[in-house]
């Protein structure tokens, strides 16, 4: 009888080897590669002053639109070339990581928290609370985000905090909708009834039983949002209501280079590649995290 039971000391249970060795390696690559890229970018953002070879906002009118080092006419002084004002693209990309990443992470943290709290409350409590919260959500979703962003920009003046606020004010609504749907489904499950039978209070059920069961969809949406937020910030910057120039963000760099795309492709391409890398890394890492966090999939 006891021999089929795992040993008490044996914390690591024998893994069910349903996957081939190759599939195992592929699976861990979807974690390691995106995580490496994201950590490198975060480190770059943190250590930008030490890594950037030039001042990102220093204009040099004699060195405009210089090509990158690997092209004819390029030099090692400006490895990724210069933009239409003679500013170093590499240094701007390095400093841009600070603004682009911190804006998107901050906005995601704010919107996901607000949306989750409202969504769980609406889904679990139901009745009038739900009706009120969901109509409020509908109104938020029907509001044109750019108009509101412009309004905020006019009232507060363009800047970092304005961008974060403008993206957060409406950004929580999709989370609230998603989480409310999940909470509604979980509210009617037997284990919630079981918790009620045990005498758990509504607050406890929401925090302990509903929240952990909505984490998976939440993470997926949050990781997808990384790319979206970087693009949204770029859009705001392009319209002049985002990060004011001369401070670099990847989005405003792409926007800056648009007019020069036929003669100086490197101005838009390098920040564009960085945006693409962050978006993909976020998605792959999100997928991997979901597989890891769902105990039903844990042993597969």
């Amino acid at each position: 009888m006891l021999s089929i039971m795992p040993n008490i000391e044996d914390k690591t249970r024998p893994k069910i080897s349903g996957l081939s060795r190759r599939a195992h390696i592929m699976r861990s690559l979807t974690c390691i590669v995106p995580l490496t890229i994201l950590s490198l970018l975060v480190l770059t953002a943190i250590f930008a002053p030490w890594l950037a070879p030039h001042d990102p906002i220093k204009v040099s009118m004699t060195e405009r639109r210089l090509p990158p080092v690997f092209m004819e006419g390029g030099s090692t002084k400006y490895i990724l070339g210069t933009d239409h004002l003679g500013r170093d693209v590499l240094s701007r990309a390095i400093y841009g990581a600070r603004i682009s990443l911190s804006v998107s992470l901050l906005v995601i943290a704010i919107t996901a928290s607000v949306g989750t709290i409202l969504g769980i409350a609406a889904g679990y409590i139901g009745g009038r609370t739900e009706a009120f919260l969901m109509r409020f959500t509908d109104i938020s979703m029907s509001f044109p985000p750019l108009v509101l962003a412009m309004l905020l920009s006019v009232i507060l003046g363009p800047g970092y905090i304005t961008v974060v606020l403008a993206l957060s004010v409406l950004g929580w609504a999709p989370y609230a909708r998603l989480i409310r749907g999940e909470a509604l489904r979980i509210r009617n499950s037997d284990f919630v009834s079981q918790a009620r039978v045990s005498g758990a209070s509504p607050m406890r059920i929401m925090i302990k039983h509903i929240f952990p069961n909505v984490i998976n969809p939440l993470i997926i949406v949050m990781t997808m949002a990384v790319g979206f937020m970087i693009l949204a910030e770029a859009g705001l910057s392009f319209l002049g209501i985002g990060i004011p120039p001369p401070d670099p963000s990847w989005g405003s760099m792409v926007a800056d280079g648009r007019g020069d795309i036929d003669r100086a492709w490197w101005i838009t391409t390098f920040p564009g590649i960085l945006i693409g890398m962050v978006v993909m890394s976020g998605n792959f890492f999100g997928d991997w995290l979901r597989d890891k966090m769902d105990p039903r999939l844990r042993q597969l």
């Binding site: 079981q194 918790a195 045990s198 005498g199 758990a200 209070s201």
Partner: protein, 322 residues
């Protein structure tokens, strides 16, 4: 009698929907003694589960509401308690085992954590003491190697094991009343027999009173001391288990017992009751079983039959019983 633990008097519960008022249970009265197993039997949708949920006051709000009656547990009328006071009763004084063990456990927590929840809520113990309680609850349900099992997630357990874990959660604070809502329906026959034996044993050890909700007369015969038969939201007959089987008085009870298959009888067809239970939206004015009853009289269609106690502890609601 002095050892009555739960007294339900004239309990009425309705569901208010757009289609109108569903009288899910309508004037149900019964009592449960300490340490006794009381069976609630009847076909689907006759109000068995709603009775159980009403006692715990866990009806799906806002549609379901208790609209009348008393539920007296050990001298306290549960209907008059505030929500907060009621929460203190749940899990500690009264507990319930839900129908489906496969979905009654939260997939993201270990079973130890889930059994411990009730203990932590009601007893305010330190973590290491909670673990001792959890292990003793698992041991009570005879789960082998509980010290290891507490670290398992629900998906790592078999259906029978999960059902025992659900039982451990219900018994973790040693409640005085346990409502078991068809706990054996999802299990196969062998496991079912084990589970019933287990519950008899637990009852002996803890002296817990059990309300056993089922549609299976076989389970009633093995498990229960007394039985109430429900039909369309009303109790039609209450008696000791042996009386119900030997001398059922209500035509519905007799028909139900008749429709249980027997190994020693060689019937070609299994007996079945003609017709359908009445819609709870549109109840007949008289006896609710009248349209399907073999011994129906004129009065049955016009007036509801009174409940009469024909012998000690045996009461019937039928015009045909004098």
């Amino acid at each position: 009698m002095s050892d009555i633990l739960l007294q339900v008097e004239n309990l009425c519960t309705s569901f208010f929907t757009r289609a109108g008022e569903f009288k899910a249970i309508d004037g149900v009265s019964f009592y449960v003694r300490e340490g006794e197993t009381f069976g609630l039997v009847g076909e689907s949708a006759c109000g068995k589960t709603v009775t159980g949920l009403s006692i715990l006051r866990l009806l799906p709000e806002p549609a379901g509401r208790i609209i009348g009656g008393k539920i007296i547990l050990d001298g306290t009328n549960l209907i008059e308690l505030s929500k907060k006071e009621m929460r203190a009763y749940r899990g500690k004084m009264i507990s319930m085992i839900l129908q489906d063990p496969m979905t009654s456990l939260n997939p993201v927590y270990t079973v130890g954590n889930q059994i411990g929840e009730s203990v932590r809520l009601h007893q305010g113990l330190r973590d290491d003491m909670v673990e001792d309680e959890v292990i003793s609850a698992l041991r009570l349900l005879r789960i082998p190697a509980p010290e290891i099992r507490i670290r398992d997630y629900p998906f790592q357990m078999s259906g029978g094991m999960r059902q025992r874990v659900v039982g451990s959660i219900a018994m973790s604070c040693r409640p005085r009343l346990l409502i078991a809502d068809e706990p054996t329906t999802a299990l196969d026959a062998t496991i079912q027999a084990q589970y019933i034996a287990l519950f008899k044993d637990i009852q002996k050890q803890t002296d817990v009173a059990i309300i056993f909700i089922t549609h299976d007369f076989g389970v009633i015969a093995q498990m229960c001391h007394r039985v109430a038969v429900m039909y369309a939201g009303k109790i039609v007959e209450t008696a000791a288990t042996s009386t119900i089987f030997k001398a059922p008085k209500h035509p519905y009870t007799a028909a139900l017992i008749n429709s249980v298959p027997h190994l020693d009888r060689k019937d070609d067809r299994l007996y079945s009751i003609e017709g359908q239970p009445p819609s709870l939206l549109n109840l007949p004015p008289g006896c609710r079983f009248a349209p399907r009853c073999h011994d129906v009289q004129e009065v049955c269609h016009q007036q509801q039959p009174p409940t009469v106690e024909i012998s000690d502890g045996h009461s019937v609601s039928c015009w045909g019983v004098k």
